[in-house]
Every structure is written in C-alpha cells, then in structure tokens.
C-alpha cells in the first residue's frame, strides 16, 4: 500500500536521478514555492551546479552559453515563466539549435475535473505554437519519459519539454 502511494507521486529524488543518468551538469532555474524540496536536493549534489536567474527568458540564454562550452544544462522553470520567455525560446534555443531539456512546472494542471487556471490552459497550446514536443510526467512511474526527452533533444538538437504535472504533491514536503 505504501509502495503504491509512493508510486503515485513524483519524488524529487527521481528527477535528480534522471538528471544524473543524462549527465546534466547545470540546472538554470528560477525556484518556485512548489519545487523548493527539489531545489534543496539539487544543491546537495556535488556533480550539479545551479545557476539562478531572475527572469525565465534568461535561462535559455545561459543554457545556450553553457552548451557552447560543452556542458549539459537543463532549464527548470514554471509554465508562467515559460510563456513570458517566448522570444528567448525562439532566438536562444530554437534558432541556436542545441539539445535542451526544459523542465516546466505545470501550474494548474489536473487530471481530474476542469482546469480553471489559465496558466495550465495555455501551456500546451504555447508549446505547440513553438513546435516544441513535450512529455507529461506526473508520477515516478513516468520517469522514463524524462530520459526519452533527453534522448530526443540530443537527436534533434532542439528543446524538448518535460511538463511536471505533480508540483503540488511530491515536490513540496
């Protein structure tokens, strides 16, 4: 029963394991309240550097620069910030053509009932408009999708999004 309950959430440890498996060197991020435990966990990893930005658009530019030097960055932001980053995604990620996994907190997402938060309502249309493929990750059992996103980003040299649909549970202990 306990195992079943744990499988139903997405543990921050799972995210960090996926980052390590995919040789991530830097997480460029703006922390948000829902992902604070993940942030604390990332800070404890000696193989991982955190680069804090103050506006989401900056994260894509910093990631581009890191990538030029041979590092493997991940962008970790919320869907609200992603939407504000439109031109940076265009100019610094899509046009630059480098592999980038963007982990996006899916604020407002629910599998049950009606989605009332417009942040969630516009998230997938936004990604579709930019022709960015995405994978929804809600629980630990979805974790292999994160590696699929990394593989796809490497193969296509494009950004691929991982939408975290469980911000409000496992990430905020």
């Amino acid at each position: 029963m306990v195992e079943q309950q744990q499988a139903a959430i997405l543990r921050p440890e799972t995210m960090v394991e996926e980052f390590k498996k995919n040789r991530v060197t830097h997480v460029v991020t703006i922390p948000d309240s829902e992902t604070n435990y993940l942030y604390e966990l990332m800070r404890k990893q000696p193989w991982l550097d955190i680069v804090p930005a103050s506006r989401e658009g900056e994260t894509f530019a910093i990631a581009l620069g890191l990538s030029i030097g041979g590092k493997v960055p991940v962008v970790l932001i919320q869907n609200t910030g992603m939407m504000e980053s439109g031109d940076s995604i265009r100019g610094m990620a899509l046009d630059a053509g480098f592999p980038l996994v963007m982990v996006v907190g899916y604020r407002g997402w629910t599998r049950h009932g009606v989605i009332s938060d417009t942040a969630a309502r516009y998230t997938e249309p936004f990604l579709n408009a930019f022709r960015i493929n995405y994978y929804l990750v809600e629980q630990d059992v979805d974790a292999p999708r994160i590696s699929v996103a990394f593989e796809e980003a490497r193969k296509t040299k494009r950004p691929v999004a991982v939408l975290i649909g469980d911000e409000y549970h496992g990430f905020n202990r």
């Binding site: 900056e58 990538s67 030029i68 100019g91 630059a96």
Partner: protein, 196 residues
Amino acid sequence: MLEAAEVFKVFQKHRGDAIVIPTGTSGRQWMNFTTNEKRDLSLGGAMGHTTGAALGVALSLPSEKVVLFDAEGALLMNLGILATIAGMKPQNFYHILLDNECYATTGGQPVPNAQEINYAGIAKEAGYAAAYRFDNLEELERNMDKILNEKGPVFVSIKVIPAIENEPIGMRQRPATRNRAQTIRELQEELGIRVE
C-alpha cells in the same frame, strides 16, 4: 563620448587569447579589428539575452577569458542578469558596456534615463568584483591592461558615439559575416570541445 572603433583599437592590443562576444550596433565594428576570428562568438540577439549567453560561455570555460561587448539597450531589458553574474562570480568574465545612450538600430531614440543612469554603479552594487566608467580615451588606454588582468566579474561602462541606423531594415547594407552556428562550431573546434 568615444568612437566605438577607438575602444576596439585599444582593446585589441590587450586581447590576448580572450573569447570575444560583441553585440549591438556598436559591437558590429569589432569585425574590423579582430585578428583572431576563431575566438570571436556571435550569439545573435533575442531582446537583450546575449548577456546571459555570454555568462553561460564564461561558466562553461573557466580557464578562458571571456569578454562581452554589451549594449545598454540590451542590458536594460534584463538588468537582473547582473545579479546572476555577480552571484556566480565568474573570475574569467569581463563585461564591457558600450553605452551610446540610445536605441541606435531603431533610429536613435533615447533609452530610459539615458544620460543620468550609472550602469557601473548598478553593476558594482549588484556585486561585481569591480566596475569602471570611462568617457576619455587616454584614461581607457591607461587602464585596459590592468582591468583585463583583474579577477572577474569586471564591469566597464564606456560612453560611445551612436552609429544610428534609420533605413528600413530590408534596405540596410550588412557586410557578409559568419553566422552564429559557424562561430560556435569554429570556437568549439579551436578549443577541442566535443558536444554530444
């Protein structure tokens, strides 16, 4: 105010092996002075985000000196990047701002508070290791070598004469230059960087 070309002439004497990232209308003139194109990076623009990309380069290549020629209109769009740069403390990062007080590429309209704002002051208070302001060529020449040998991040603000463009974009003459992908590839080859 100085001519951007004079600034580049002074800098070129002290460049050494530094990776140089020019941006903005003033930055375009760097191509007339560089003698080591393989270490010049063109990062394109996206509402002023070249600054962040240059930071990423500096963080990923800590043993290389990275010099960004930034523009004040671009920097104003993302002033928060100064806090990130200061916080990450890249000792190899030299952030030179060519401040022409206007959006030269859109006809020369002034940037907000163009004449009174103190970018070096903002950078210093954000936490840069050092920050300087120059409006005099001799003074710049006297200090350039010392500045480029300090531990970064260092910020240098220089007032330059704008090269205002006022023709419709489609009618503007642009000399043939290497594109972003080419500059990235050539720098990576030069440094032996292999990207998956």
